[in-house]
Symmetry: C2
DNA sequence: TTAAAATAAATTGTGTACAATTGAATTGTA
DNA sequence: TACAATTCAATTGTACACAATTTATTTTAA
């Protein structure tokens, strides 16, 4: 009986992993219009909200490290959506700042959450339940 | 109000993406002992169950394409866990077969699901609810 | 029956993820 | 105040993901 534990259909992590990729794919046609990948998009979300943040804090919010963020932020800089400046008070910190160009993207992105949620077949109860469980996983360990 | 839709904390996809990576990380110490990555592990799960499958069907089960699977399966072959043989009835198909060595891994893996579930802070109701919602997402579109 | 269409895997190229290491800047402390 | 420890970002190296294209094989339909 122990063996059924190793069947794909009895796993919780596998559908979590597959559903995550599945939903991210639904963003693609909308994000293509903004010339953003999904990871770049969630980075821009933080910046649309805060305007400025250093790499460390950004990594804490996105659960990503500098190995992922450094090249991604250089790409966003090359697109003109953010600037990268060393903090004068502590040269170890790199400040990521939203540019005017990056700010304009927010308007174009405003309709994306609604459009994507229409592609996902969940009712409000399920969505809320999912949200709570996912944050319980995220908070329950790191 | 439209603007709050673009806040990270109001997204459903972001915690899905973050929780997926968070849980996969919990497998790492256990999978390191088997010299498997998470993607290699779920591939082995299919093979422990079916013994043999072609790349196309494997991709359907894992929601992955040949671009991901081809190099991964070559790695598993080099580790001695699978063999790769063209189907004689249709040379387009590549059959992936569990080797004896690969079969032995199943015993070593048997305890992993229990160990990982102890690292995830969910009660049985939450786990079942999550499972159902994730499969609803997966079935609801592709 | 043979040429076009379809199918399967491999390949190519880009962009993450992430562990581990490095290097520069800052902080704590003897 | 030096200097060891810490912190932050960048770098290095490996392994996915995935879109798009290519190559080989098989199927189909004229």
């Amino acid at each position: 009986m122990e063996k059924d534990c190793l069947k794909l259909e009895n796993q919780l992590c596998f559908p979590l992993y597959a559903a995550s990729r599945n939903v991210i794919k639904k963003y693609k046609p909308f994000l293509d219009e903004l010339d953003l990948t999904y990871t770049q998009y969630i980075t821009m979300m933080v910046l649309w909200d805060l305007k400025e943040i250093n790499v460390k804090e950004l990594g804490n919010k996105l659960y990503l490290d500098s190995g992922t963020l450094t090249p991604l932020l250089k790409t966003l800089e090359s697109k003109g959506y953010v600037s990268r400046v060393r903090s004068s008070s502590d040269e170890r910190n790199l400040l990521i700042c939203l540019t005017a160009e990056g700010g304009k993207l927010k308007d174009k992105a405003a309709s994306i959450p609604t459009k994507v949620s229409k592609c996902i077949n969940l009712n409000p109860d399920e969505a809320l339940s999912l949200y709570k469980i996912l944050y319980k996983i995220l908070e329950g360990g790191e």
